[in-house]
Amino acid sequence: MNVVGRRTLTVIALVALAIVGALTAEWWLSQSPDRPFGHTQAGHVLGWAGLLLMLLVLAYPFRKRHTPGQRWSKSLFQVHIVGGLVGHLLILLHAGAHLHALIPVLAMLAMGLVVVSGIVGQVLHALAFRTMNEQRRLLLHQGLPEPEVEARLQALAKQEETFRLWQVIHGPLTVTFVALAMLHIGGALYYGGF
């Protein structure tokens, strides 16, 4: 198995562990006979914190979309990845495994699909980087000047279809999740009050 494959498995294992940990922690926090953790003040605060982190995650795609000429922002990308995982983990801690109302259940499902597709996207991203670096080494080895190499790599990147296809899945899933999350928050505030 190559490096990317091993890293993918490690990420999947860590995410699975984090999910089990969050659900176990929520179960333990809900042992009070009063109410599930998600309905306590602390549970609500976690929900809001998770939402804020997930909104922060949108900074990276927004920057990519609206300032395409600028250099790729590695730090914003890392915020996107870390925020995407931690934010969703906080939401999992807020919600637990209490599945009753349709809207929050659908929001949770959409959130899970967004996270899974995000991990797939990171694998594709890593593979694309490796491919590009290998091409760069090859072209430089062939004696091509640096500007020519960059131009060819740009052309190669524009033809990359797999990542484009992935965007068609990850983008709409994210929109769906945000819409369902907003519906859940609206419903909770309408019926539960501030």
Partner: protein
């Protein structure tokens, strides 16, 4: 196909979104509990209440809505018993019902979260008693023996359960009688 979608797709997407929102609104109005409630209502309220009878928009369940059915006058007119005495005091102090009561925790769940009665309403159903005083003397504060009387109701309950209903074991019925069933869980 690309992301974001081209402008030509926007009318289709907007129409689909509108249809979805209208469908959601219609289905939600017909059965709001399935879409929004965090759990089933208890037997005390299930099938009798609509959401807005307890919940005010953006204010949650309010004491005023509880009192619309569970009027102050009810507690005053009932004969003396610890719950009645407690609720008369709570009404005088304008205490919030939600401090001690909750809902949406399931059909057989307790709706009193900080009970003077740790057995919940289950104990009255299984013993045929009507109030705390049918088994306890002078109940005001919880304690291990809680002024247990030596009468028929208490002796019948102790005799059931094959020794499980011993001193210090009465408090939490649902530890063995999950879901409010009179039969105990195996191994409990």
């Amino acid at each position: 196909m690309t992301w974001p979608p081209p402008f030509s797709m926007y009318p289709v997407l907007l129409t689909a979104t509108l249809v979805l929102i209208i469908g959601l609104g219609w289905a939600s109005a017909r059965d709001p509990e399935s879409f929004w409630a965090p759990g089933d209502l208890s037997v005390h309220h299930a099938g009798r209440m609509s959401c807005t009878q307890c919940h005010e928009p953006f204010r949650g369940a309010t004491t005023a809505n509880c009192i619309a059915c569970h009027a102050d006058a009810t507690f005053i007119s009932q004969p003396d018993s610890p719950p009645q005495i407690f609720h008369r005091q709570a009404a005088r102090e304008r205490a919030r019902c939600l401090t001690c009561h909750t809902e949406h925790r399931g059909t057989t769940a307790r709706i009193t979260t900080d009970p003077l009665n740790p057995h919940s309403e289950f104990i009255f159903r299984v013993t045929g008693t009507q109030s705390c005083r049918d088994c306890h003397a002078g109940v005001q504060k919880p304690g291990p023996k809680y002024g247990l009387l030596n009468n028929d109701a208490v002796r019948r309950l102790v005799a059931k359960g094959k020794g499980a209903h011993g001193p210090g074991r009465f408090a939490d019925c649902f530890r063995c009688h999950a879901g409010g069933r009179t039969g105990a869980e195996r191994g409990s």
